[in-house]
């Protein structure tokens, strides 16, 4: 058989948010006229979908609809610090702080309505753009509630900060508490190796990842799928080459990336082991999604053709030459 299939797997773990350093984020929230919501925090999309996640979280916490949440720009002159967009920290750090700020804004509004309706604060519920008191006929839109609040001189705003309880590492033995949230994952890859050309096609990947709590499962899948394909690029083809400090791969004709015809079908399995510390139970997924892919693919190549690649990338040439070396060895 010219084309041989095989499977491999690998596991991973990862820490969420800044490593071995205290992390922090701040946010402001306001339930605005008409029952819409404003969130101001130093965050901007880098593509992972954080704006949508924050809109969902704010909507959930305040009881408005996600499409009625407006998120302010990330601007050091205009918004509170939420620190950087990286370290798989956005949903964890900024999602949690937006939840806390939203809760405070909601509390202001709820207190007004409890007073207006003369009910206990605890009986008040919000959701889907409405506010109501349990076991009563009191039910109005969030917009109407904001009007009540403003009539009483209250603007329903909230602010919050969220930080991590972490430490640096000991310089001698490395001991320390680098993160307060950890995630774990496992991937299985199925490959086909063409023994005429040495090409490896990754046909399928099953990826099981703990994300704490998936705010937007489609977004989590997007992170997993994208992470796997980036790792696949490193596994099989990408190589920034330097000779005496000069690169020979300064454009996309030479620095080659996976195309639509090079990618596997990805089957994501989302595991939810809630974080006990943050208010939402969320953790993160951006980076861990690509950690197990390369060894899973290399283990699958081994399963398929019995050769192990120790130096990346596993180019067709490298794979085919390894297969031939193994055949020669077997013949001797």
């Amino acid at each position: 058989m010219a084309r041989k299939r095989g499977r491999g797997m690998a596991a991973c773990w990862y820490g969420i948010a800044r490593t071995a350093a205290v992390d922090r984020a701040g946010a402001w929230a306001e339930i605005d006229d008409g029952g819409s919501a404003k969130i101001i925090t130093g965050v901007t999309e880098i593509g992972e979908g954080i704006l949508t996640v924050l809109a969902q979280i704010a909507a959930h916490e305040m009881g408005v609809k996600p499409e009625h949440v407006v998120i302010g720009d990330n601007d050091t002159g205009r918004s509170p610090e939420a620190a950087h967009a990286g370290a798989s920290r956005q949903t964890y750090m900024i999602g949690n702080v937006v939840a806390l700020a939203s809760r405070e804004a909601r509390k202001r509004l709820v207190e007004v309505m409890a007073d207006v309706w003369d009910v206990e604060v605890e009986t008040i519920r919000t959701g889907n753009g409405e506010i109501w008191a349990e076991n009563t006929n009191h039910r109005i839109s969030m917009g109407e509630a904001v009007t009540f609040a403003k009539g009483r001189g209250v603007v329903p705003v909230g602010s919050a900060t969220f930080g991590t309880d972490t430490t640096g590492l000991d310089p001698v033995d490395g001991s320390g508490n680098p993160w307060q949230a950890y995630v774990f994952g496992c991937q299985v890859a199925e490959v086909e190796v063409d023994t005429v050309t040495g090409e490896v096609q990754v046909l399928g990947v099953w990826a099981a990842h703990d994300v704490g709590r998936a705010v937007n499962p489609q977004g989590v899948e997007g992170q997993i799928e994208g992470g796997i394909v980036q790792a696949l690029g490193q596994a099989l083809m990408e190589d920034y080459e330097l000779k005496d400090g000069h690169t020979s791969t300064s454009g996309f004709a030479k620095y080659i990336l996976p195309t639509s015809l090079d990618v596997p079908r990805v089957n994501s399995i989302i595991i939810e082991d809630p974080d006990p510390i943050g208010p939402l139970g969320v953790k993160g997924i951006g980076e861990p999604a690509m950690v197990p892919t390369i060894p899973a693919v290399m283990n699958a190549i081994y399963d398929a053709v019995g050769v192990r690649i120790f130096d990346l990338p596993a180019t067709p040439e490298k794979v085919l030459m390894a297969i031939r070396a193994k055949e020669r060895e077997a013949a001797e």
Binding site: M1, M9, A10, A11, C12, W13, G15, T19, G42, T44, E45, G47, H60, P66, D73, D75, T76, G77, H84, A85, G86, G174, P178, C186, V188, E190, E192, L203, G204, W206, A207, A208, N216, G222, E225, G226, G227, E238, D239, Y240, E241, D244, G245, G251, F252, Y255, L261, P264, R265, N267, I269, I271, L280, E287, P288, V291, N299, Y302, D303, A304
Partner: protein, 628 residues
Amino acid sequence: MVDLRLEATVNGRKISRTAKPHQRLLDFIRDDLNLTGNKEGCGAGECGTCSVFVDGVLMKSCLLPVAKAQGAQIDTIESLAKTGELSVLQKAFHKAGASQCGYCIPGMVMAATAALRINPFADREEIKERLGGNICRCTGYQKIFDAVELARDVQNGRLPATALLETDTEDGEVIGKNVRRIDAPSKVSGKLKYAGDMTMPGMLHVQVLRSPHAHARIVSIDVSAAEAMDGIEGVVTSADVPGQDGFGVFVHDQPVMARGKVRYVGEAVAAVAAEDAMTAKRALAAIKVVYAPLAPVFDAEEAMRPGAPVVHDYAPDNITKHIPIRVGDVEKGFAESDLVLEETYSTQAIEHAYLEPEAGLSYVDPDGVVVVVSPSQNITHHRHMLARIIAKPISKVRFIMSPVGGGFGGKEDMIYQGMLALLAMKTQRPVRLVFTREESIISTAKRHPSRTTLRMGLMRDGRIRALDMRMVCDGGAYGLSTEGVMRKAAILAAGPYVIPNVKVDTYGIYTNNTPSGAFRSFGALQTAFATESHLDIAAERLGLDPFQIRRINAMRDGATTHTKAKLGTVSLTRALDAAEKASGWEAGSPTMRGGTRGDLAHDDVRPAVSLGARFAADGKGGKQEAAE
């Protein structure tokens, strides 16, 4: 120069304009017509962000001299939702979550539009083939294929139009639901403005002079001829830095522009602001830099040896950072082990290859605040560093994060924002810099290339007794995120496994190569490649299934990590169980099983051979008889 008179129809409107003979169609539609929906990702036809229709045929507008559009009908991404209502395909991209950073998406939507025009019944394999000229770095393409299939089925009446709408959440609960991305409409329509799409009145264009040497002393820089040129408003070098010149995520070892010496090919040496980019480029050629080459070092292991060329005076051993982890006594652990395995693994340098090359604007606002607008992943830290560099209070420095067309860690470094601020201050005019793809690749950080020696001792029953890992990473010319990468790599190196004796050393080393920096998964990718490959080698030797050997060693709830941190719940075995079950894994030792496996998948994998899918299609949703 003989200007062209261009008569064409653009998005249904007749235009008659003069154009420069060397302009590309992409320049014309973006710069002259201000249609910035289609992007420039590579300028060489290799990415597809610029795909437009020319007389109904999709083409890459970066490869088309504008003269080729004479008399043609040009349709850009803006043509698809002219009335404000998104096309079915655009709605499908929104619904399927097919856009992430969004930079490739206008081109991708155009390619998908073309695919379904050519074959309204194209199957997934044919769709993939027809999107083969458009690169996406974020999504892994899955949701894009999903979106095109969804649009196809809606267009063909196989699915109702409501399939494109938000799934209603009856109970009002929105957490855990696939709420459509709120930024998607602006991305699928091309309306979102990235930094390179923004202009300001009176804006100048910036070009950067870069080092041709890997390691050289700068004897002199003479910018007088450049400054004297018509159209040149300002030239800056390190001499223009008023404050403490240094940036970096952990150690501030990198000057805004080379100071005293250059340490890698492509390092910024001077920057010019001019009325247009061509003039700025010409001025670069007029800057005279005298270099005295120094002995370079290109290999991390060599750089660690005594007597190697020193890249930074503060680090005479060229070690940017060493992170040790120590648990127990590894030598004792190896002595107790039944099996000791040692291998060396290496990984290459990787480019982030976000589709949006670096770009940014800077201006001084009426209150004297220096403002930088750029796709930065860390404006908080950039503000701190820039304030020190330009010697202003933090309140007089403002960073605005523009939409990021892919980051992956590569836009955490303040690699160009300092030059922009200096030029805005010097010229007192808005300035903009847009990198070419080549500039982006040669001058910005890479994933750390690594060489890892891993020794593992195991008991016959599969328990890991000891692990000793030494990883040496080429950090390149500047520190950037190297320290953090070495730290994360070290902490996670031994994997989520209970191991009584652990010794890990990670080293980030200065060389005269392109700097390495932050890259999604931050060192963990390199160490996991070694550890997880090694576990399979061990499993084969011990006759264990790969899942089994990991379960034997897996950290469980309450485990203590290799940094002696106490964990709460540990979801590792849940993840192992889930992946094993979902893939239908057939247990067995990782010997070469290949075709003898009983678990090779059909439905959850794609077909293996994916080129020529169109030959099998008849264009009516059926298959041709001659299909193979």
